[in-house]
Amino acid sequence: MKPEELISMMEKARADSSAFEHEIRVCTESGCMSLQSDTLLKALGDEVKTRGMTDKICVKGVGCMGLCCNGPLVQADTAMYQFAKPEHASAIVQGLSTQPVAELLCNTQQPFFTRQKLVVRENSGHVDPESLVDCIAHGAYQALLKALTTMTPHQVIQEISDSGLRGRGGAGFPTGLKWATVSKAGGSDKYVICNGDEGDPGAFMDRSVMEGDPHRVLEGMAIAAYAVGAENGVIYVRAEYPLAVKRLTKAINLARRHELIGHNIFGTKFSFNVELRLGAGAFVCGEETALIASVEGKRGVPRPRPPYPANSGLFGCPTLINNVETYANVAPIINKGAAWFAQIGTEKSKGTKIFALTGTVKNCGLIEVAMGMPLREIIYDIAGGVPNGKAFKAVQTGGPSGGCIPAELLDITVDYESLAKAGSIMGSGGMIVMDETSNMVDVARFFMEFCMTESCGKCVPCRVGTYEMHQLLNRICEKRGTPEDLQLLKDLCGMVKQTSLCGLGQSAPNPVLSTLRYFEHEYLDLVNQTQAAHADQSPAATGEHIELEVLP
């Protein structure tokens, strides 16, 4: 595709869509799809056809609109509908020309919508992810065009560095610095990899980006490849995200067909090819060296670093690995400039962050907010607080690698530094809210069980340490734990954190450490109950008795 073709394609698409009088958009991401939004989409299309209004009303499937717990969500002109079902199709279409359907209306003036700042998700809910034309109408590939035709690779890297963008996968490493390292690495073959192996319990930010706006990810990767001097890219997606896989595959095929990826893009010397690789369901493959091993066709286990992938990664070549959300931030930065991006967020954490709100909050779903927003505002205003008259207890950020933040720290701001200071991490963006009925020892046990089953087994501290910590947490939860067990648990946390090979093991003790930090009394209560139970009875009768019924 030539530059002018992209422009004319965009203009034509925009003209085509403005020819419609009305537009109905239905969320067709995994959450709403599981509530039959695909049937609803078809019913709406049929209804429009029956009324002979296909030239007046545009009906399309789009990406996530955020308030997943009230899905399926539908946007019909200015009205947003929630809990929409196929049987509402007729009323929704009718409502376009009369009054909106009152009983389905979703208030878009509530803080959930008004307090957000959309950068990555600006087109989610607006574009049809399966239509390249629609994406281009909304500005897709403009940033790539700008980068390839008006900027040198060095300028692109400088722009990303100046923007202050940091990795959205968890650790928050400065993205520009990473790109510069790969750019400087020698060797003719280089790779860019997109890490779409999102696996934390309660996290679905990356899935939404891939399902709702896949071209934005491709564009970000292409710009990154241009900047670091790579010609090949790999998107690694877990196979448990079939819809993301389908949409990415389609996006790659369409982009390839229109020569937005491939040889001599926009008539420049830059060529870029992308392949999709599916993960077989291992959490550890989110770790970059394990991911690389998996792409190479080997067992997905991490290896010691250095060498870092930036110097020796996929097939021994310099490799840039970024998370989905990181790549999705690239196009807006190139389009609007580093200065624009850098004015969003805090001094050290620039831009926005997507969070997946789950647990005991009124509004579950996806939000994108400027970095530096107080946690209290997210929980109480955006998420609507804890339902059923219960009191807020803690919020787990960063999934199994993160930690819990208790009520007394709700006024901290959400950015890399303050979350780390509170003993948690930003992580990829999961936020699991717990109310007063949650037992924090049980929460720690849940996450430890996750780490135990996801440990790859390569290094001893993670392989056996997570197992033993889980055993000890079981004992404590079941009121069989002693003060010695609690001490051993603490000792194990330190050892596993310090000696494990990769991030999975190094961060596995975090949920225990943070619950110990803020809720140690809950551990002590359970341990003391064990003591009390033992004191009440003769030594021989303190549980652990054989159950004769188990014998045949």
Binding site: P304, E454, G457, K458, C459, R463, T499, L501
Partner: protein, 242 residues
């Protein structure tokens, strides 16, 4: 196998208070051992690629908040390394105790009793009991091969056998299946060893195995001794050839 760099520099560093000079590219473990400083290891074996799995060789480097695996960390000019702080000793003890708790290392009835690197490590680290609850898993013994035996009960997953089979013998009969504590050594596509079509019966895996997991058949308690000396010899000869 040292990288063949044209510019081999000389470096100086300090390990446990001792001033030492070495060549660039050498790992802390190599340099420490060359200078009679003992850093314990179980998965490391001279002649095989570095694995970094047992985590016994973790050392402290001044100025770094993290611990570093000596087998996988190359020396740098002016580095100050500490290999035996009380914290490191405690971590090593815990790691070896966890290995004992993970599977069924019943030394008294093991063919490698008295010639076992895990058992010797317990003595070296003064482990007189295991603080962690034992798992007592039910594990298989693969007796299907004519000459050799794989006893999963004794395996510590150091994967020396997997590496020697792939890297030295070139057969890649052995690999690992499963995750976490359920990971296990397998042959080919998880077939009985005796039915493997790729195994050349060279016996290298038996000789590099640190415990009684891989043994020759027909050995009784305490009779199995390993001879891993072939490995440095083989790699040396290959390096000379290439």
């Amino acid at each position: 196998m040292r990288p063949a760099t044209s510019t081999v520099e000389s470096l100086t560093l300090q390990i446990d208070g001792k001033d030492i000079s070495c060549r660039s590219g050498e790992t802390i473990l190599q340099v420490a051992r060359d200078n009679n400083i003992d850093i314990p290891t179980l998965c490391f074996l001279e002649g095989l690629t570095v694995w970094g799995g047992c985590r016994l060789c973790m050392v402290e480097i001044a100025g770094s908040p993290k611990l570093h695996a000596a087998c996988a960390t190359t020396c740098a000019e002016g580095m100050v390394v500490s290999t035996a702080s009380p914290r490191l000793k405690e971590y090593r003890k815990m790691i070896v105790e966890m290995l004992f708790a993970e599977r069924n290392h019943v030394c008294a009835v093991c063919v490698s009793n008295g010639h076992c690197e895990l058992q010797n490590m317990a003595v070296k680290l003064e482990i007189d009991h295991v603080r962690f609850p034992y798992r007592f898993p039910h594990l298989e013994v693969d007796n299907s091969h004519d000459a050799m035996r794989l006893d999963q009960n004794r395996c510590i997953l150091c994967v020396r056998c997997v590496r020697v089979c792939g890297e030295i013998e070139g057969a890649h009969t052995k690999d690992v299946k499963g995750r976490g504590v359920l990971a296990a050594i397998i042959h080919d596509l998880d077939q009985p060893w005796g039915e493997s079509e790729t195994c050349t019966a060279c016996g290298k895996c038996v000789n590099v195995c640190p415990t009684g997991a891989l043994t020759h058949r027909g050995t009784a308690v305490g009779e199995m001794t390993k001879k891993a000396q072939f490995l440095p010899y083989l790699t040396l000869m290959r390096e000379a050839k290439s």
